[in-house]
Structures are given as C-alpha cells and as structure tokens.
Amino acid sequence: MITVREIVSALSLEVVAGGEHLDRTVTGGYASDLLSCVMARALPGNVWITLQAHMNVVAVAALLDLSCVIITEGVRPEAEVLAKADERSIAVLLTTETTYAIVCALAGLGITGQSEC
C-alpha cells in the first residue's frame, strides 16, 4: 500500500498543511469539485483531487477521514484554510498540474478509484 509521502515525492507535490501526517496509507482516490459528490462517494483514507481550496474542503476531508487532499492547477488556499487543515490533521498538497494529469499519475502508482477501507 502506498503512503501520502510516496505520492508527494512521486508527483513532486508541495506540502502546505498536515506535514506530520504523511505516513498514512492511501486507500484509493476520488476526484470532484462538487462537495456533495465527494461526501457521497469518497471513502476513508482516499486521496481527494480537487480545484476547490476553501474552508469546506477541510471540513469534508476531515468528516470523511480522507488521507490527503491534492489541490490542482496552482490554486493556493488561504492561510486560515491551511491552519484549519493543520488543526484537523489533514494533509494538503498542491500542484500546478491539472486534475486529469494528477489522476493519471496516481493511476500509474496503482491507486484505484474504487476502494474499501
């Protein structure tokens, strides 16, 4: 099983919050910018790939016990969002790549879209 840390290094992601929680195992992935879809489908331990970068991303990730959030296309969350992510132990990773490119790279690492925790 792959860890958040391995994803960070394989995809050259920037860790901007939750840096002490990179040893979690990633159970699978989910990509969407619609919070309700994420709520409905993402599973515990999943990596979530999104363009959203506001406070509720942290709330959703924490409620679902996701392993990390990758925010794509160079979008940078506000400092309060990152502080909240640190508080809730959510690893937030940034990239300038597109969501599609990141999903492809994650698939190359063996991370699937349907995973049980």
């Binding site: 002490e20 040893d23 910018d33 619609l34 919070l35 309700s36 879809c37 709520m39 409905a40 515990p44 999104t50 959203q52 506001h54 406070m55 509720n56 991303v57 709330a59 959703v60 924490a62 409620l63 679902l64 016990d65 309060e80 809730r88 925790c117």
Partner: protein, 304 residues
C-alpha cells in the same frame, strides 16, 4: 505514528514534569564511615545494590560503591573502614528538582546513583536510573488507565444511566451563509459519536447526513438548528429552520435539482445532491416544508 523531530514526546514531557521525590527510593540503605569494607561487601551482596551513601550522625559525608569494594578485595583491604575509601566530593540532587536535572547529571558524571537531599540538606532518598525509568513507567501507566477509564465511561454512558429511554441531545445553531463554519456541527457530532464508541461505518453515515443538512441550512435557510438525538439503538437528526421554506418538496428531493445560485455552485456546493445523499445514509427520512414558515428535516440512522 512516527515521532516528528522537534516534537516533544510524552516521555520527554514527563522528565520535565516529575519531581525527583516522586521517583526516588525513600528507604535509603546507608553505612557509617567506620563500617568495614568487608561488611559493606556483604550489604551490597545481600541487598543487591551497587553503592550506598555514607552517613554520620544523620549527615551525608560521602558515597561508596562496589568499585571501591573490588579494589579493596584486590588489595586485601576488606578490614579498612569505609571512611578511608569513600568519595567525599559528593554530587547530590535536591528532592524538589525535576527529573530532567538528574538525567543531565547522570549523563555528565557517569555515576550510578545520586543521594537526594531536602531543602535543609538532610538525606531523604537515593536516585538511580532505574528509579527514573520505574517512576516514569508508573506515571504513564496511571495516565493510561485514567484515559482508558474515561473512554470506557463515555462508551458505556447508556448502560450506566438507567431510565426507560435514555438519549443524549446535541443542539447546534447554524447561521445563514456562514460558509466558513459550515461543517462544524457535523464534525462535532462525529467526534461525539467517536467518543461514544459508535461503529466507523455508522459514524460515516451520520457525518455525511449531518454535513449535508448543515450546509443546506447555511445555503438555503435564514438560519436554523441541527439537533442530534443519540439513543442506544439509533440516532435521530433534525434540521429545522424558520424560512423561507421549499416550494415543491418532491422536486427538491430529486437528485441534481438545485436552487443554489451560481456563486454558491462555484464553491462546490449546490449540486442538488444534498437531500439524496442524506436519504442514502438514513434508515428513514421525512422532509416537511411550508413556504414562508420553514422546513423540518428529520432522519433516523440505526446504530446496530
């Protein structure tokens, strides 16, 4: 979990918290300066210790260890008095100091033990590395037990309290369009269920349902409340608001139907999936609404 460099571990904290008199050995075995090294050898052997303080008329005058005895054995000097062989340049620690000061002294001098003095300079104990390890383990054990007990109490609250029907009511007020705090009630409900020891799969369903109900209040209502009623066998969630109400409840229940404005959709809300998500997570759900009056959503999730 991996310890982070720079992160202070509980052990490190304890070294600063614990006082020497909380870990030291109080029943000090000591000798006097005129005890012979032969008698000292027997004392060390029978008590299974490797050094003792030397006390004269209640005052600490030196330290003597098994190394002095070995030297005396080699030289055939077992009849010599302790007073002629002891270390008089004694390094002592104070009972009220923290354990960390002693840890530093052990590292600096390489001694096996330090005599412990009280504020008036009287010998009140002896401290070895073993005493420190035992003291810390004991404290951690006590803390762990207290934590376990608290966790046990939280998860058995419904068994401990007797009534015909016991329920725990959590009430959260939700403000309109407070997108920053949206999700806080849901995360607090989630944490409460975790403390009560609910199954992770149940917690997930309650978290999803309460999050969606909460964001609905934030996005669509003039403000309202989320009330979670936790019973031994089920959790009932109620989301009530005082307006504006839903024009067509059947339409609102359709997946993908949304009245959210574009700017809210851009934030990733308002996908029209909220109510269907709630329904999927609930064992039963009821939505009642009247335009100009308000909306009441009630759902039940079985805990078994």
């Amino acid at each position: 979990m991996n310890a982070n460099p720079g992160e202070v571990t509980r052990v490190q904290e304890l070294v600063y918290e614990l006082k020497i008199d909380q870990v030291m050995t109080r029943d000090v075995i000591s000798v006097t300066p005129d005890t012979t090294l032969g008698d000292l050898k027997e004392l060390l052997r029978t008590k299974r210790i490797s050094g003792v303080p030397v006390v004269q008329e209640g005052a600490l005058v030196g330290m003597i260890s098994i190394e002095n005895v070995i030297l005396a054995l080699e030289r055939g000097e077992l009849a010599a008095p302790v007073g002629s062989r002891m270390t008089t340049d004694v390094v002592s620690v104070r009972a009220e100091d923290t354990v960390v000061s002693a840890v530093n002294l052990f590292a600096r001098y390489g001694y096996g033990r330090f005599p412990v003095l009280d504020g008036k300079g009287a010998l009140v104990g002896i401290l070895t590395k073993g005493d420190i390890v035992r003291g810390m383990l004991k404290r951690m054990e006590v803390e762990w037990q207290a934590e376990e007990l608290e966790r046990y109490r939280a998860s058995h609250i419904f068994e401990d309290i007797e009534s015909d029907e016991t329920g725990l009511i959590l009430r959260y007020r939700v403000k309109r369009q407070d997108f920053i705090r949206a999700g806080e009630a849901a995360s607090k409900i989630k944490r409460a269920l975790e403390r009560l020891g609910a199954h992770p799969r149940i917690i997930r369903r309650v978290a999803v349902a309460s999050y969606e109900a909460e964001t609905n209040l934030v996005i669509h209502s003039v403000g309202g409340e989320i009330i979670a009623e936790i019973h031994p066998d089920r959790i009932k969630l109620v989301a009530v608001d005082s307006g504006p109400g839903i024009a067509d409840v059947q339409q609102a229940l359709q997946a993908g139907y949304s009245t959210a404005p574009d700017w809210i959709r851009e934030l990733g809300f308002g996908a029209g999936m909220g109510l269907s998500n709630i329904k999927a997570c609930s064992d039963s759900m009821k939505l009642e609404s009247e335009l100009g009056v308000g909306t009441r959503l009630e759902l039940t999730i079985k805990l078994q």
